[in-house]
Symmetry: C2
Subunit: 151 residues, 2 copies
């Protein structure tokens, strides 16, 4: 393989997206590696934004996930002391997810990291390009989800 051949092949869009997704996560982990959790940061952000009113099932929807995976997420976050499950008194099948003080203390920094990584990733792009990107990504997401529905 000659040196130039590496540039001969353009990775397809799907691989690019996966690569960027992994890169984001890796940066996040690194920036937050002084915390005692190394994943599920965004789950915490979501739980915070619905403080006291979100159940595991709803979190599954918000994370494009399923209830089985969410059990693992909440098990992890509660083992680490970031979240507690509280039985919903109205419907005792449900748990309300409640942030601990530890989580509330960590969250400003977590949110700041999300913003910092955006800044890093989008460096050198004009504002018009960034807003165009978010629009385009939404369109692609819709195109893909529509097409997955019809399988």
């Amino acid at each position: 393989m000659t040196p130039t051949l590496l540039s001969k092949v353009e990775p397809p869009l799907g691989r690019m997206f996966s690569f960027l997704g992994k890169g984001y996560l890796q940066l996040l982990r690194t920036k937050l590696n002084h915390l005692d959790i190394d994943r599920n940061y965004y789950a915490l952000v979501l739980i915070e934004s619905f403080e006291g009113e979100v159940t595991q099932q709803e979190l599954a929807l918000l994370l494009d996930s399923d209830k089985v995976s969410i059990v693992r997420v909440i098990d992890y976050l509660s083992e680490k002391g970031y979240v507690t499950r509280t039985r919903n008194t109205d419907d005792r099948r449900k748990y309300s997810l409640i942030l601990t003080e530890k989580a509330k203390k960590a969250l400003p920094e977590i949110r700041k990291c999300f913003a910092e990584i955006n800044e890093i990733a989008l460096k050198g792009l004009r504002n018009s390009q960034i807003s165009e990107l978010t629009d385009v990504i939404k369109i692609i997401k819709n195109n893909i989800t529509e097409n997955i529905q019809t399988l």
Copy 2:
């Protein structure tokens, strides 16, 4: 959780990218589910484009992966009869990866599927938006990889 709350939270860019990457893969698998392989399609495309001249180590570079993972990929593709390993006579540590007839027959369709999924995903976008997207993605990829180097 009220119905409108679902739209209250914007998933961060990194999650969006991961989601799109997974969606692409899922569409690919579905479109190609009559083949007896359900992954590593792009590895085949790469091997084809370097026909007879690519080693596992080089494939690892091309796939942003590592040699251990590539052993699994090539084990899988050779079990399924798509690839054979042939010892390189110049350097007997290396294997040249060779496509079988079965793989050569499947590849036009595989490549066609990549193109079809692009069409699906990019539907409704203007050509200018598509070329801007690829530029922007490359910039983001560079920003992320640069930043990961410096860890």
